[in-house]
Amino acid sequence: MELYELGLAGALSLIKEKKASAREVLDSVFTRIRNVDGRVKAYVSLTEELAYKMAENAAGPIAGLPVAIKDNMCTKGVRTTCSSKILENFTPPYESTVTERLFKAGCSLPGKTNLDEFAMGSSTENSAFFTTKNPWDLERIPGGSSGGSAAAVAAGECLAALGSDTGGSIRQPASLCGVVGLKPTYGRVSRYGLVAFASSLDQIGPITKTVEDAAIIMNIISGHDPLDSTSAPIPVPDFTAVLGKDIKGLKVGIPKEYFVEGMDKEVEKSVRDAIAHLENLGAVPVEVGLPHTPYAVADYYILATSEASSNLARFDGVKYGFRAEGKDLMEMYMETKARGFGAEVKRRIMLGTYALSSGYYEAYYGKGQKVRTLIKRDFEEAFKKVDVIATPTSPTPAFKIGEKTADPLQMYLSDIFTISINLAGIPAISIPCGFTSGGLPIGLQIIGKHFDEETILKAAHAYEQSTNWHTMRPAL
């Protein structure tokens, strides 16, 4: 086994046993990057020199180990682009809270990973720079928007990564790349320094090779941050403490609304098999209803775009980033935005601006908020009966590059199973649960109660440890 194939826990135990050093891990990872990133294209920026410098004096629980960061989290002194032309040359003079916490824990930064521009998309095809390839099939998308992070983890170009998830952007690419992705409860992890897409939905989380690694990263990045008022002042447990505990009697909700017509048959079979496997481990499947599920995608695209239209207003050419010339202020604004933003970002800004306009606000945003409450209540009701809910993460495996770019609605449906979770603000994890006959990974989503990441980690770990999907590596 090559060192780059290791996860955090794996590398830490080798280092502890003095069978390898953090430096050797770093060497292996950068060699791997040199060998495969030309084809995978996971990284927007590589920071090799910085990574070695950071590793030199690193101390802490993950000292010297490379964790890749999605390029929408600000890193002080390191270019942060959001894969957008408008921020192509933006170097933040401040550190986001998650990276500060990771760096304090000793992590070393190998580079910043590609995403759909401003995290808007499900394939990385909306990156202003290039499309990241799925390491399992280079003709396919890695999912998105954290496609760069998921592909980097799957391809062994880092030990772990951070992604951000507004409607599925951690879980869907994790599922499509055959790795683990956790979206924490809204408020569990600070958003300070995360370039906002939809503030009430965005949440940062780990993309890793194993459930244990996800727990390790959660231990580092979770907890209240005085710089983010929406981060919850709730105590953070040791997320690794629940790993290895059995799941006997764990009630697993199966929502009928998530097993629908038109779903990929192989995906459905793998997920049903996974649920049966959980049952074998002692879990008790319980059918639950989430009746407002059909409204989730529409609701999300009202609320998320409304917030986005306001969040992206600051990119106006005045203070930082790209500025187009214009004969007056208005023309400068219009040209900067017209040339600085890509088509999908513009589409969402227009949608959101419309939804918030006077005369339409109540019909769209106002109604959207009410529907959001109903979706939240669906989960509250379901969680009165069950401990976790299990569903597919994505309705299909990774699709071909270009397959859905002409039809934004089809693209939006990639997140049909993940979006409700963001609207409800609850945590969910995607873990590998099989492969299609064509060798593409399939993901199982396990959804938990508010601030109960422990239970989904426990269930995910029990499943993972009794299967070997997570040991599979793409041939590159």
Binding site: Y94, Y192, L227, T230, S306, E307, K319, S358
Partner: protein
């Protein structure tokens, strides 16, 4: 007053008051005025991507304090909203403000009018952040932006449309300013922009129930301009109605140089601010205990002070109002009374000489710490015991004011002690009478008004030091 008796004016004011917090409303940057451009900024107040606002508790406290001083209902649950518009001085492309759930609602403020006390309703008070400032200087085709002011906490105080004349509007502004300064939430400096005022004004035929079409006036940065702009606008609207024209709902700017209001934008051109709840901040929930704590910390308010001065010191309403108009002045007065000064005498000296001298220098009483209440009290005592005359006292007071020296020392140095013994005064009187035989004759023939002439002459000869009562007495005796 309206420009024409047939019409009634309806005015509502929106006052923006800059809060006297040390740091900005959503970050830790300083709010100090006058620093070099962009030196008091950080990722939050410059709208850097990924930065997030964190609410300054002090700003909330100040807004609640203001609400309590105006008998508002304090909302236990309120929240911020985003007001979206593009302007280079607005770094995020939206202003964080309060919209549907402001921190304070339904209060009132009493003003004095020619017809007595009038209660003006306060619709709401809400918190928001200030924008930066565009600077247009230098030769280039560009303007510059200074973001030092971006994020400075503001409070917007919206009145009900209860004001009926420019005088009432400016009286309301003065009262409001006094209260804000009393409770220490705003310095009330209109020139520096820490107190700003927009007005909604409309005119309707007297007796008509529904309001006329309103015009919003902006850019009135002094009490005088508020009055002038409203006067101009009322005349303009009245004339338009008389001429059968329609008033257009619009925003107009006061041009103080030209003395006119000019259209800035019409309703059709008005911004759609696309307000929605600010997702980066959690709603504000205020504990009742905290409100009570703030209420307990409120000082005596101007209205209460005026009442008390009238009752406790038997001062006329005019004196009480004037003394209470500034808290430090009221405190200065009360200190003088506490030290034994006669209240009315102290009030007279403060309203007369002290205010005159302060106004000449353009200073307020706090800016003149060398002049102490004890000095006035001592001087009043010296008048009362006859050491100096009231007239001489004016000279003494001015000297005290300028040098900070005690009355006694001034009197000694300048030799201003009153001549109050007949032995010293008699020779002077004799000499004056001897020098003016014609006037003595006329007096004796019955022209008794001439007594004033003799007093004047003696006073001049003694440099005003003659005791007036003694002088009168001696003169009458010698002339009889």
């Amino acid at each position: 007053m309206s420009a024409n008796g047939k019409y009634e004016t309806v005015i509502g004011l929106e006052v923006h008051a800059q809060l006297l917090t040390d740091s900005k409303i959503f970050c830790g940057c300083s709010t100090k005025f006058g620093a070099d451009p962009n030196t008091q900024t950080c990722p939050v107040c410059t709208g850097m991507p990924g930065s997030l606002p964190v609410l300054n508790r002090k700003a909330v406290e100040f807004a609640i304090k203001t609400g309590l001083a105006m008998d508002c209902e304090i909302s236990l649950f309120s929240r911020f909203a985003r007001k979206n518009y593009f302007y280079p001085d607005l770094p995020k492309g939206y202003q964080i403000s309060q919209y549907e759930l402001p921190i304070c609602e339904r209060g009132h403020l009493d003003i004095k009018t020619s017809e007595g006390t009038k209660r003006i309703g306060i619709t709401r008070i809400h918190m928001e952040e200030d924008a930066g400032k565009n600077i247009h200087e230098g030769a280039g085709p560009y303007s510059l932006v200074d973001l030092n002011r971006a994020g400075v906490p503001l409070m917007e105080i919206v009145s009900d449309p209860d004001l009926r004349s420019p005088e009432e509007a400016s009286e309301y502004m003065r009262r409001l300013r006094t209260i804000l300064r009393y409770i220490g939430v705003c310095d009330g400096n209109m020139e520096q922009g820490s107190l700003r005022c927009d007005a909604n004004v409309s005119v309707r035929p007297r007796g008509q129930r529904e309001l006329g079409v309103k015009v919003e006036l902006k850019n009135m940065n002094s009490f005088r301009f508020v009055e002038k702009a409203l006067e101009y606008e009322i005349t303009r609207q009245t004339k338009a109605i008389e001429d059968g024209e329609k008033i257009i709902q619009e925003t107009r700017l006061w041009d103080s140089a030209a003395g006119v209001t000019l259209s800035m934008r019409t309703k059709e051109e008005a911004h759609d601010y696309r307000y929605f709840p600010e997702p980066d901040l959690v709603p504000i929930s205020v504990e009742k205990n905290w409100i009570e704590e703030i209420r307990k910390g409120l000082p005596e308010l101007p209205g209460q002070k005026i009442e008390r001065f009238i009752k406790e010191y038997q001062l006329p309403e005019y004196d009480s109002e004037l003394l209470a108009s500034e808290k430090p002045l009221a405190e200065w007065f009360e200190e003088a009374v506490k030290l034994g000064g006669n209240p009315k005498a102290a009030s007279n000296w403060i309203m007369g000489e002290l205010m005159r001298l302060l106004n000449e220098e353009g200073l307020s009483i706090e800016e003149k710490p060398a002049v102490k209440p004890a000095m006035l009290v001592e001087m009043i005592g010296l008048i009362e015991n006859g050491t100096i005359s009231g007239k001489i006292a004016k000279t003494v007071f001015e000297e005290m004011y300028k040098t900070g020296k005690q009355a006694k020392i001034v009197i000694e140095e300048k030799g201003l002690v009153q001549i109050a013994d007949a032995g010293s005064l008699a020779p002077v009187i004799d000499e004056i009478l001897a020098r003016n035989p014609k006037e003595v004759e006329r007096y004796k023939a019955g022209d008794e008004k001439l007594i004033g002439f003799f007093v004047g002459q003696v006073m001049r000869a003694t440099k005003g030091k003659a005791n007036p009562a003694l002088l009168n007495e001696l003169l009458k005796k010698k002339l009889s």
